[in-house]
């Protein structure tokens, strides 16, 4: 899966964009800015998915996350008043001691992962699969050089969607159905949670004690 040429340029551009946008998501003072930076981080990760040859996943990423989940987030941000942060009085982070402890722990975790664990594990893996990797790279180079000047590798583009669809209807269908039940639970749960007391009274399922207290007040 070794990228080359313009692919590697795009890889670095989008990965740096994803990390910067992720950092700004966590550090922005205003929650709306956070949401917008999260959108740009998600779009950059979708571009990385395309570089990995998973176009369908990238499309779903943009449709579901950016089109669905983030709109929900922005909606709730508008609904809930977050003005206190913009005034600049309240600190956006928790107490300094806790923040320092968390950041030190995370820096250690990041150091171990990035410097030690991932390179070592990957070099062992690459050593095992050396022949297969070289073969795959040679095939990739062959494929790219055999394309004519105007071609964009569309034949490779369509295959992944087809394979995801086939898998979803065959051996991955049980998790798919379980996920649909999960989404149904989520729909019912969020409707139940977000109801006002007035709506609960209208639906006639309020605890009698609560109702009598309401009438007294």
């Amino acid at each position: 899966m070794i990228l080359s040429g313009w692919e590697s340029v795009f890889f670095w551009v989008f990965s740096i964009a994803a990390i910067l946008a992720g950092l700004l998501t966590v550090m922005a003072r205003n929650a709306v800015h956070s949401a917008l930076f999260l959108i740009s981080s998600l779009v950059s990760v979708a571009a990385l998915f395309i570089l990995l040859g998973a176009e369908f996943i990238a499309g779903v990423q943009i449709l579901v996350y950016v089109g669905g989940v983030m709109v929900l987030f922005l909606f709730v941000i508008m609904l809930v008043n977050v003005g206190a942060e913009e005034e600049g009085r309240a600190p956006i982070f928790n107490k300094p001691a806790q923040v320092t402890a968390a950041l030190v722990f995370l820096a250690m975790l990041a150091g171990v992962l990035v410097i030690y664990a991932i390179p070592r594990g990957y070099s062992a893996l690459a050593e095992r699969d050396k022949a297969a990797l070289q073969q795959a790279n040679a095939k990739r180079v062959d494929d790219q050089s055999s394309l004519s000047a105007g071609a964009t590798g569309v034949s490779r583009l369509t295959k992944e969607t087809e394979r995801v669809g086939t898998a979803l209807y065959t051996y991955a269908s049980l998790p798919f159905e379980i996920a649909s039940v999960l989404l149904l639970v989520a729909i019912i749960g969020s409707v139940m949670l977000a109801r006002t007391l007035k709506q609960e009274v209208a639906a006639d399922d309020v605890d009698p004690e609560v109702l009598s207290e309401m009438k007294q007040s």
């Binding site: 929900l72 809930v80 995370l106 996920a179």
Partner: protein
């Protein structure tokens, strides 16, 4: 000195030709940023956004390994791609339920700062 030059050239080579490990490093960094957000921010909505960042980093790992398996032929290349869907559904369900909780909480307590929501703090 020759050794140093060769090391520098392999470093340059790995920058020019990113492989699986680079994707894993990017995903690890995104994950760490997300965890840092969850641990340090006070705004409940930003904490939810950080959780989205964490789930997204996990997705990136799944896809990178899926592609690696596709190239090397060890294991099923579709397993990574199929893990993405349950992950997405979990993220969507979490966002829906979590934001429902945020709205209910705001209606009752008039705040979404987590250090003011300390009823169950020991």
């Amino acid at each position: 000195m020759l050794q140093e030059a060769s090391r520098a050239s392999t470093a340059l080579e790995s920058i020019k030709h990113p492989d699986l490990s680079k994707f894993l490093v990017i995903a690890a960094i995104l994950f760490i940023i997300g965890v840092a957000g969850v641990l340090t921010r006070r705004n409940l909505l930003v904490i939810f956004m950080s959780i989205e960042l964490i789930l997204n980093a996990a997705n990136l790992n799944f896809i990178a390994f899926s592609r690696y398996l596709q190239d090397t032929g060890h294991g099923d290349p579709m397993s990574g791609l199929n893990f993405i869907n349950p992950d997405r559904f979990v993220a969507a369900a979490e966002a829906a339920i979590g934001l429902g909780i945020v709205i209910a909480l705001y209606r009752n307590r008039e705040t979404i700062w987590i250090d003011e929501i300390d009823l169950m703090k020991w």
